[in-house]
Amino acid sequence: MKDTDGIEKLFEQTPRPRIADGPHRARLKRQLVARLQDSRRAPRILRWLVPAAAAACVAVAAVMLVVNGTPSVYAQAVEALRRAKTVHARAFRIVDGKEKLGAEIWYDAELGVRERTIARDGSVAGEMLDNGEFRWTYNSAKKTVIKDASRDPVGHIAEILEFDRKLAKRPFKKVPGADQTIDGVSCLAYESRAEKQNVAQRVWIDPQNRVRRWEEVWWKDGKEVVDERCKIAYDQPLPKERFDPTFGVGVKVVDLTKATPMALEKSLIRKEVLGLVLTVHKVLRLDHGSLMLAWSHRPTKETLSRHRASHTMSSGNVLGRAEVQTGWRRLEDGTERSIQPMNIAVWNGDGVGTAWTVLIPKGPWPRPLEAIDLQFRVYTSGTLKEELEKKKQPWFLYRFDLGRLDLPEEAVTMEAACREVYQHAAWVHTRYGPRTVLLTGKMRPLTEKEKEYEMKRFGRTRKEVEGITIEPLHEVSRITPDEFVENVQANYTKLTEH
């Protein structure tokens, strides 16, 4: 018998408490999701300011690490910035030695965050305001504000503070003689120099471990040139009206939070193939002879049970994809006619990939279509593909007949159909996040850079790449319903011209 047997028995006899999940579970998940979303959005939202402010904020954290040598000081530095009641940051481009305001950000822990981007001509290019309940994104060129659900403004600021991966690893050194008094506070200067890139980040931190100023400098002919500068002030009173959702006279507001979904519960046709289910939910006849399909692909229940780890319900169908392949038909007179698909929107979420596709009958048809035979290309991917390959079974189908779909007699305008899709996309956007649903932009040819990439990466010829056009995709909060209608109509016109 061991001398610890008695105490081990006590452990056996002592009950082990188990605590039920509370609201914290959902709250933390929301915070994590907001952090993830912001980390993916930040470079695009702030473009200019974020790198500047982030670099500055992070640099100070890095400085703390070097100076004090303990991670807890780093944490304290970040915490100090996070605890700020207000933050006012201004980022400048330095042109001919003069500061040109590039962006400005106001943050109030109680009221939210507002950021303003200034164009090179000095005008306001755009603004973003998030008051914790809603987010407004203003585009001055379009004179439009898109109202959306909030994305956690505090998390947004926190994300700026944690843009640390690159800079935090750089060694910062004290710069003798570069210390400055900023806003009456004596600040120490530190520098991280990347010799090979001929660039350095320089920060000034105050006694409370907060970055007050950040600069990016480089050397031209041995002479120091300041490229960008960011000035940050903390806990100073900010005008409350800065956080009012006002963006000027005549600005149109698109309210995504009031969007209604399209009814997609019905299945007009549904078939299983390669462990996936293809479903057509809705078909509309458009007034100029085209059709619009709302359709989806998802794993079957059996597939899902075998590949649960690969398939997260919060993403789309990661086990496969499909494309409308409805091609051509031989008419009674022996001539052939084709039907061209044109995707206008895509939603990947809830374990399903959903798409809205316009089908464009090309050339003259003797009479309006009464029914259509739908064919799809179907691909499996991920672990489902691996499984099929292992079994020596095909993992894709070039042409899968989904079946014949009867078409409605009544037609709707393309504009009305597009607006309905936009409404649904907005509804998805506010519930599932900004990247879940994407709407088509206007078709454009490849840029020269893209052409070169295509030729290099895939060995395509110059002639081939000249023939390629692409359709960019936009988040719903980045385009208005009018623009979406315009994009679809422009693409339709382009395709029917040929």
Binding site: R308, A309, M342
Partner: protein
């Protein structure tokens, strides 16, 4: 603010390059039209952990790999591990509020550190989370040692607590059992932190020596030795406590 960005679907390597590619010089059958996956955040779905089947190590490794690029995969990891970590931290701190705060810290740190995380064969991802949570518990214990708070069992906490073998839910009985656990917990809190960690993982989380060693980053022999010394010291502390009473 700059113009809205464009999202162009990257190539899938099969020559299908873009989200939608139009070739005016080809017939329909030769055309490539495709749209692909976009990584998306999740919709709010709460308390789903209990419905989730447990993952095999291979499946988990795959999920962890995906989580580096795919936020939704991280959510999956969160859903799978939240309750485990919360409960571990609750048993370490015996306070719902503190356990929830430390759980938040644990997951935020995991989120930040995921890129640098390297999974090892036969070591579950959860071990890494346990390690972060253990560090959080350690830091909390250090700060609370300087500012000791009375160990109370609020009614709200009691309502959320259950014991697997306590029979029918009975608040009074739950409180009684919680008091029994609290007595042991108080004694454990008097031990060195490294003893607290090994005892918690070994006896309350029911882990093998190898698992404890993996989480704490120590050798198995060291863990065994630590547990032995911790038990002896705990016995002495309990003896003192009884004597004081």
């Amino acid at each position: 603010m700059a113009e809205a960005p464009e999202f162009v679907q990257p190539s899938d390597g099969n020559g299908i390059v873009l989200w939608q590619e139009h070739r005016t010089d080809q017939s329909m059958d030769q055309r490539n039209t495709t749209f692909g996956e976009q990584v998306i955040p999740s919709r709010p779905k709460e308390n789903a952990e209990s419905r989730r089947p447990s993952l095999s190590l291979t499946e988990e490794a795959e999920l962890v790999n995906r989580a580096r690029m795919d936020p939704s995969a991280f959510e999956e990891l969160y859903e799978t591990n939240y309750s485990t970590i919360l409960n571990y931290l609750y048993r370490r701190t015996l306070s719902t509020a503190v356990a929830e705060e430390l759980t938040s810290n644990t997951f935020f740190k995991a989120l930040r550190g995921l890129r640098g995380f390297r999974s090892r064969p036969n070591v579950p991802f959860r071990s890494w989370l346990y390690r972060i949570a253990s560090n959080e518990a350690k830091m909390y214990w250090r700060s609370s040692k300087r500012h000791p708070a009375p160990l109370e069992l609020p009614d709200d906490d009691c309502l959320r607590v259950s014991f697997s073998w306590a029979g029918r839910a009975d608040p009074e009985r739950t409180r009684e059992k919680l008091q029994q656990y609290a007595r042991l917990h108080r004694a454990i809190l008097r031990l060195k932190e490294r003893y607290q960690a090994v005892l918690g993982l070994r006896y309350f989380e029911g882990m093998k020596h190898e698992q404890v060693a993996e989480i704490l980053g120590r050798k198995v022999g060291t863990v065994k030795s630590l547990i032995h010394r911790a038990l002896k010291e705990l016995a002495a502390v309990l003896h003192d406590m009884d004597a004081t009473l």
